[in-house]
Amino acid sequence: MQFMLLFSRQGKLRLQKWYVPLSDKEKKKITRELVQTILARKPKMCSFLEWRDLKVVYKRYASLYFCCAIEDQDNELITLEIIHRYVELLDKYFGSVCELDIIFNFEKAYFILDEFLLGGEAQETSKKNVLKAIEQADLLQESQAEDWGSLTNEDLL
């Protein structure tokens, strides 16, 4: 996989993950172009499209579009299920995930993605194992929570 983008129906980018080195300018250009192309497509259309020399696989969940660009020899259907598994992971973690969860906890969305996919390939496909890794990390931070408990006033800045 070369990159994954999450964007809203209004075309706002919510998450971007690039597995190939590209300049910021190029990334913005690709994002603009793809968001436009996909938003223009009608509901019942095919989830795959040829784009430049890549294959784009996308799926809409409520207000969010999940979109992956894969290479020629990659499997479209399994990529659709990569998207679905990621949505399941987010859903399980946040408890009925919605767009706002991803906006306010964007860093978590990235952490979960890193546990699931690394370098554009599936690292761990078991839902249980991914969530276990994330929850372990959360435990680590909760045990440290009291350290900064007294600073909440300044926190509002």
Partner: protein
């Protein structure tokens, strides 16, 4: 506002995000962001040392601002500081910031690498994973340099935790993709391959991506993975849906791993070991069988996962292309999908069938689905699916169904989406030609193509129909008649006028017997379109008129009248005016015999690969035309037309811009007209032959001047040399008023010249590969002479002028004498050295007739231009010239002495060279003998 559900809520961050969301305008958002940036900047700069939590919070805010699409130019240092925090969350945010906002600031990379190194050696698996994720996300060369040798060790170590192994495998994959030279598997190879046997499915899933990539690059070293992959696959395929616990996805056991295993096997030919192969075939059969079983769930995830494996298995079957039984079964399975209610499946089935169509085992099976595919072309609502259907029709076409398929494609063209029309036109043109049984059908098809989609018919297509008509005399009469009828339409496409003008100009006589298409009727029909056409078409029509005068003397008066009128003979377009003037003159002064010779029928075009096919390949890349396209055409061409006359079929001429070959009109004493002189071969990929031998020799004794000039382009040259180095400035001037597009130049050194001359930093000032009309661009070549040489380097220039590709190869005037250092010496020294160079092979001599004036000053100037010192008072005979110099190459210096003895009476010269290297004597002698 949503509750921040888990972990540490950073309230300040949440408040900031809410604020941004509440901003009513872009301006308000930017204002809020700037306020925040100022705040963070002051915190970072402030005297009070920030605690870890605040640092984390601000770094996270910066990250959020960056992800909104704003530039962030500070905070990197604070993020790097977080990496060495011993609090997990701080470290985690630090790594996230680094992963998203890598900066190639080398100072920073060193610090980052240090932090990563510490975490990798911490033996804390959570920290190790964070560090590995960061390397995999950034994947820079610096990181590869620092860690590429360490990570394989972590990957195969017995005591590494599974989760760390998974990260290490994919981290290594990423580094291998960016810096393959730094990732050396060597001793680890076998242990990495054996990860396929690992107990932990997650480890296998991660490792197999790495193994697949490495196998593609080094298949031999990794080939033991084949049997391991087969047995792993076999275990998964035969397992019950509950066996693999959490690796079962919607009742499908390990779909990701299965797909990856099947993908890995596609890097290799079918297993040679009979047992392994048998087991694999069994797996593939099981997968095909499962597709027929009723679904275990109605969820789309179930069917997607199941079908993902099925499509990957079919890809493997197609890759092997050796199991007829499996191929046909695959084809039938795909056939079922063609009518599936899921658009995604129909799309993939069409795509996959395209490759099946090119296998000899399944070609016939694919053909049975023709009606379904035609129906898809007509009824699919999604253009990308229709495109696949068109591709498949093209791939399944052969002689048996060509008429049907071409007819369907033509009728689809009438309503086709603009985005795919041009490609459709090319495909129809190719199929019509490739499978033409009778040429009247071919001509009809192409004329229909022009009628339906004239705008999308590229030059290649209409050139092609003309080439074929010219090469096949049995279709010429039919073509003339059909084109005449097509031109009757009140509005016809300009491409139709071009084809009509050309064909009637050549073969109008074949239908002139019929009073309804008498010569004058033909002429009037063509001329009625004249005023609506563009300049190139009018130029073509004028040529058709002069051909008419030859074919039908009775039209002479009428046509001369047309040529003579002011709008022709004084046309503001030079090309049209010139043609009108020349043709008028030609028709009035030339005798019938001369006219008949000059305007003879075009000779058959030489045969070559179809130019249209070449265009389609170029347009879509090599994968677009079915893989077996070329074999196909070979296979088919043998039986074409049943007549065995295949020469005409496979032919492509050089489509000159002027099909009438204006060059043949040159005898009337005019310079070739501009389009006429552009007889360039657009599609030939033949090796370069330089066209400027004369031009090249003019530069032996001088460094500046015009290297090449034609109607379009002028190339000027300025060069300077010092020791064994040189610099050459090339000036490319566009002489036309039209832009040159895709302008590229390449310098090459044929054969062993490569190791003798070095071109360094070939710089062009071309920001864009365009040369505007009337403009000049400059290119600088830096040259280093490594050893003495004889051949000339070649300069190849390619560009598009109008529609046509121009391709030009010139010899660059870099000759060995350019690297001369003049050497002054006395008569005594000269003769002493002359004697030292007395071995026969060191001397080269030539006696030749003077080609130019023997004027003393001219001779002297040339000898000085050669680069040597011209020595006075050395030769006892004052009429003679002697020169001395040293040729500087990187590897050695070659001393050269020269003596030129003119004989004014006989108009002859004797030239003698003695050099310390015999190849130099010979080359200099060759070069100089043509200078005087």
């Amino acid at each position: 506002m949503p509750a921040v559900s888990k972990g540490d809520g950073m309230r300040g961050l949440a408040v900031f995000i809410s604020d941004i969301r509440n901003c009513k305008s872009k301006e308000a958002e930017i204002k809020r962001i700037n306020k925040e940036l100022a705040n963070i900047r002051s915190k970072f700069k402030g005297d009070k040392a920030l605690d870890g939590y605040s640092k984390k919070k601000y770094v996270c805010k910066l990250l959020f601002i960056f992800l909104l699409g704003h530039d962030i130019d500070f905070g990197h240092m604070e993020a790097v500081n977080l990496l060495s925090s011993n609090k997990y969350t701080e470290k985690q945010i630090g790594y996230l910031f680094i992963s998203v906002l890598v900066n190639s600031n080398s100072e920073l990379i060193r610090l980052i690498n240090n932090a990563i190194k510490n975490d990798l050696s911490s033996r804390n698996p959570t920290f190790m994973c964070l560090a590995l994720h960061c390397i995999a996300n950034v994947g820079s060369r610096e990181m590869a340099e620092a860690f590429a040798s360490e990570i394989p060790r972590i990957l195969v170590a017995g005591d590494t935790m599974d989760s760390v192994k998974q990260s290490a495998a994919l981290c290594l994959l990423r580094l291998y993709k960016t810096s393959p030279d730094l990732v050396l598997m060597g001793e680890w190879t076998s242990r990495v391959v054996h990860l396929l046997n690992d107990q932990h499915m997650g480890v296998v899933t991660a490792a197999i991506s790495l193994i697949t990539c490495l196998s593609q690059k080094n298949p031999e070293e990794f080939k033991t993975c084949v049997s391991l992959a087969v047995s792993r696959l076999s275990r998964i395929v035969s397992s019950a849906s509950t066996d693999l616990q959490d690796y079962t996805y919607y009742f499908v056991p390990a779909p990701w791993l299965s797909c990856k295993l099947l993908r890995l096997l596609q890097c290799y030919p079918p297993p040679e070991d009979g047992a392994v192969k048998g087991r694999l075939v069994e797996c593939l059969e099981t997968i095909l069988n499962k597709a027929q079983e009723p679904p275990k769930s109605k969820k789309v995830q179930h069917s997607n996962a199941k079908n993902a494996i099925l499509f990957e298995a079919i890809s493997l079957i197609i890759h092997y292309d050796s199991e007829p039984n499996l191929l046909v079964r695959a084809c039938n399975q795909l056939g079922q999908f063609l009518q599936h209610r899921e658009t995604n499946l129909r799309y993939l089935a069409l795509e996959s069938m395209c490759t099946l169509a090119s296998s000899e085992f399944s070609h016939e099976a694919v053909k049975t689905h023709i009606e379904t595919v035609i129906n898809a072309l007509k009824t699919e609502r999604d253009v990308s699916v229709r495109q696949r259907a068109a591709d498949l029709l093209y791939a399944m076409c052969d002689r048996s169904n060509a008429k049907q398929i071409v007819a369907e494609m033509l009728s689809y063209l009438e309503t086709a989406d603009y985005s795919i029309r041009e490609e459709m036109v090319l495909k129809v043109a190719i199929l019509a030609e490739k499978y033409a049984v009778d040429y009247s059908w071919y001509v009809d098809t192409i004329l229909n193509l022009i009628r339906i989609a004239g705008d999308y018919v590229s030059e290649e297509v209409w050139y092609r129909v003309i080439q074929i008509v010219i090469n096949r005399d049995d279709v010429q009469g039919y073509a003339a008649k059909t084109v005449f009828e097509a031109l009757q339409a009140p509005a016809c496409h300009e491409n139709m006028v071009k084809v009509g003008g050309y064909i009637l100009g050549e073969f109008g006589n074949l239908i002139a017997g019929d009073p309804r298409s008498s010569p004058l009727v033909q002429f009037n029909l063509l001329h009625s379109k004249f005023h609506l056409c563009s300049v190139p078409t009018r130029a073509l029509l004028l040529s058709a008129y002069i051909k008419f005068i030859n074919l039908f003397p009775e039209t002479k008066a009428t046509i001369q009248e047309v040529l003579r009128c002011d709008s022709q003979i004084r046309n503001s377009d030079v090309e049209l005016q010139q043609r009108a003037v020349e043709y008028l003159k030609l028709s009035s002064i030339a005798s019938t015999d001369v006219l008949a010779t000059v305007l003879e029928e075009m000779p058959p075009f030489p045969e070559r690969e179809s130019s249209i096919l070449a265009k389609l390949k170029k347009k879509k890349g090599p994968g677009a035309v079915s893989v077996t396209e070329l074999e196909d055409s070979k296979r088919e061409s043998g039986e074409l037309n049943g007549g065995g006359d295949t020469a005409a079929m496979a032919s492509t001429p050089s489509p000159s811009a002027d099909l009438l070959g204006i060059r043949s009109a040159a005898p009337i004493g005019s310079a070739p007209t501009s389009t006429g002189s552009l007889l360039v071969d657009v599609f030939s990929e033949a090796g370069p032959t330089a066209v400027n031998d004369d031009g090249f020799l003019r530069f032996v004794c001088k460094n500046n001047g015009v290297l090449f000039e034609n109607q379009l382009l002028q190339i000027g040259i300025k060069s300077e040399y010092r020791q064994n180095l040189g610099r050459m400035y090339l000036f490319y001037g566009n002489k036309t008023s039209v832009q040159f597009a895709s302008f590229t130049t390449t310098v090459s050194c044929p054969g062993e010249l490569q190791s003798h001359i070095l071109f360094l930093n070939v710089q062009t000032k071309l920001v864009e590969p365009l040369v505007e009309g009337g403009a000049q661009i400059q290119q600088v070549l830096n040259i280093e002479c490594l050893a003495d040489f004889s051949d000339a380097p070649l300069l190849n220039i390619k560009f598009r002028y109008g529609g046509a590709l121009q391709n030009l190869t010139l010899k660059l005037p870099v000759t060995i004498n350019k690297f001369f250092q003049p050497t002054e010496m006395t008569s005594h020294d000269f003769f002493q050295r002359w004697k030292q160079l007395s071995q026969p092979q060191q001397e080269a001599q030539k006696i030749f007739k003077a080609n130019h004036s023997m004027d003393i000053e001219v001779l002297k100037a040339k000898l000085l231009g050669l680069g040597t010192a011209l020595l006075d008072n050395v030769d006892p005979n004052p009429e003679n010239y002697v020169c001395a110099g040293v040729i500087q190459t990187k590897s050695q210096q070659v001393g050269c002495l020269l003596r030129l003895e003119p004989n004014a009476q006989a108009q002859m010269y004797r030239l003698t060279l003695r050099c310390s290297k015999d190849s130099v004597s010979r080359r200099l002698c060759e070069l100089l003998a043509q200078q005087f």
